[in-house]
């Protein structure tokens, strides 16, 4: 019984790692990006999380700048913050690859994760895997990223 408790508490600490809490409290690249060339909204209709992601792609389709606005839980805000941190400097294609790798990791499709290079500090979000109800929070900004780049839809949802 106490083993269970400890294990469970560990899960929670895995989810709310210091890095996550830090990004949730002080999100990086927060705010509107006036020079944005691509943007998309992300809405999780079931919990009310909503954010808008801004990207500035240069002529070489490289992400020169990225930012986001909105409100959400610690996981979705930290994930958006880490996202912007990670994709700045990447090509659009690389960012889409990262999207694939990241979402695959959270959905436990290990085979994909193996193919893709390390996720760096995005690994901090891997604790979400133990919380399937929260995977949508962690991927919300990422779906917006994918929408923004492919300009498929103005609003991504994670239902």
């Amino acid at each position: 019984m106490s083993a269970v408790h400890t294990h469970e508490a560990d899960d929670l600490r895995e989810l709310y790692r210091e890095l996550i809490l830090d990004h949730a409290r002080s999100p990086r690249h927060f705010g509107k990006l006036d020079a944005a060339t691509h943007t998309a909204r992300g809405i999780n209709p079931l919990c009310g999380d909503r954010l808008q992601l801004f990207l500035q792609l240069d002529q070489a389709e490289r992400i020169a700048a990225a930012s986001f606005e909105g409100s959400g839980c610690a996981i979705s805000v930290a994930s958006a913050s880490l996202l912007t941190d990670s994709v700045i400097g990447m090509s659009a294609t690389e960012a889409l690859e990262l999207f694939t790798a990241f979402t695959a990791q959270l959905c436990d499709q290990q085979d994909v994760a193996v193919v893709i290079p390390r996720l760096g500090k995005l690994q901090a979000l891997s604790g979400v895997r133990e919380f399937p109800a929260r995977v949508k929070c962690a991927t919300l900004a990422w779906h917006a990223l994918e929408s923004a780049i492919s300009q498929r839809s103005a609003t991504a949802t994670t239902e």
Binding site: E8, C47, G72, A133, C137
Partner: protein
């Protein structure tokens, strides 16, 4: 006298009733489950689950349609449940009890069958700012279809209707009033008698969204004098997918059918179809038979305890919940009307409700977080969502103590 006896029994036993609920006997993440999400869906007592399974094992057949034994048994059980509902809400006649798939369908039915043929451009429908989406969107759709106007009665900082504003907005353009009996996000019990009295003066019908009313208090639709009363089985210890529309017979009689199909007709031909009498006119197609029978079993269960006993139990518990929550530093209660049912929304520090929900779930405590299908209420209080603890007859002080302890833990994690 009989009522008093039932009450007496109820008082003695209500604390023990949680053992009637199989779902509450389980461990979640290593902790015994504390279920504080009954306003979303309550758990079912074993008697409801077993009544349904027994029906499915022994008596299942389509209703109203056969002379064979199973069909007759199914029809008897189904129509027997209608009698139980009639009695439970004290409708004048069983013709006034229409089975639907839930509150949402009940409200859509009234919007489309009662209002849509009636509304002219410029007419208006009066609702309030604290409604559940199910009592907003059907009226928005209707207003689009008819070029009518949706008027929204504002709420104050405690989460109460602004009654003077309501009176002002209630002019001769208003053709329909639809308000929650009890708010699911805030717990507010609205002054429905006052609203109905106002509407009577103008001869405008009133629909009460009773989804959160029926589980928490004795309902008497005749005494309320409302025209429509909508509710769902799954908030009153019955399954999802079944609900009721109570309607005043004279109004229902004059309304065209909502859906077409089997059972709602007397005669079908290509030269002209005659609709069936009430309540069948509004029950097109094969209904949710086991759901209706489960609803009947839930009513039996509730009546064996007594709605007054339940209300008394929940009232005491709500007071304890509010007291205990307010002792936590950084708590903000949302929904503080003096008249409330056993629902409490809150925020803690600047922890997002969703994170609270996860931390609590990890302690085996189920609360609801988010907008509670009441986004305008969230906008009013300028919050993205809330955490909400809602109580059922099976909750006790221990549940609340567990909740409070877990909230302290959440504060630590986010400190």
């Amino acid at each position: 006298m009989r009522q008093a006896q039932v009450e007496q029994q109820g008082r003695g036993r209500i604390e023990d009733r949680r053992t009637d609920f199989p779902a509450l006997q389980q461990m979640i993440h290593g902790h015994s489950l504390v279920y504080l999400d009954s306003a979303a869906s309550s758990q079912m007592p074993g008697s409801v689950i077993e009544t349904i399974a027994r029906y499915q094992r022994n008596d299942h057949a389509n209703v109203h349609r056969g002379v064979h034994t199973l069909s007759h048994r199914a029809t008897d059980a189904y129509e027997g449940a209608r009698d139980k509902v009639r009695n439970f809400v004290n409708a004048a006649s069983r013709s006034e009890v229409i089975f639907t798939s839930g509150t949402t369908e009940s409200i859509n039915l009234v919007a489309q069958s009662y209002c849509r043929p009636l509304l002219r451009a410029g007419d208006s429908v009066l609702i309030s700012h604290l409604e559940h989406h199910s009592n907003i969107v059907p009226w928005q759709l209707l207003c689009e279809q008819t070029a009518a106007e949706l008027r929204v009665v504002p709420i104050d900082e405690q989460g109460q209707l602004d009654m003077p504003a309501l009176a002002r907005m209630f002019d001769e353009k208003v053709r329909m009033v639809a308000v929650a009996h009890v708010s699911n996000a805030l717990g507010t019990i609205n002054p429905v008698r006052e609203i109905i009295a106002l509407a009577r003066q103008r001869d405008v019908p009133v629909l009460l969204d009773g989804a959160q009313g029926v589980p928490h208090m004795a309902i008497d639709v005749q005494e309320l004098d409302c025209d429509f009363y909508a509710f769902s089985g799954h908030k009153m210890y019955a399954p999802t997918g079944v609900g009721v529309l109570y309607g005043r017979e004279s109004l229902l009689d004059a309304m065209p059918p909502y859906q077409g199909g089997g059972d709602m007709i007397l005669e079908v031909s290509f030269t002209g179809t005659t609709y069936n009498e009430l309540p069948y006119k509004f029950e097109a197609g094969t209904p949710n038979i086991s759901g209706v029978i489960g609803l009947g079993a839930a009513i039996d269960y509730l009546q064996s305890i007594g709605m007054l006993a339940i209300a008394r139990h929940e009232k005491a518990l709500l007071a304890y919940l509010m007291d205990e929550l307010q002792k936590i530093s950084g708590i903000r209660l949302i929904g503080t009307a003096p008249h409330k049912a056993s629902v409490q929304s809150f925020m803690l520090d600047n922890i997002h409700p969703h994170d609270l929900g996860t931390i609590l779930d990890h302690q085996g405590i189920a609360i609801r977080t988010g907008h509670h299908c009441a986004m305008p209420v969230m906008q009013h209080f300028a919050v993205p969502g809330t955490a909400r603890a809602s109580l059922g007859l099976y909750n006790n002080r221990d549940d609340i103590d567990r909740l409070v302890a877990a909230l302290h833990q959440a504060k630590q994690i986010f400190s």
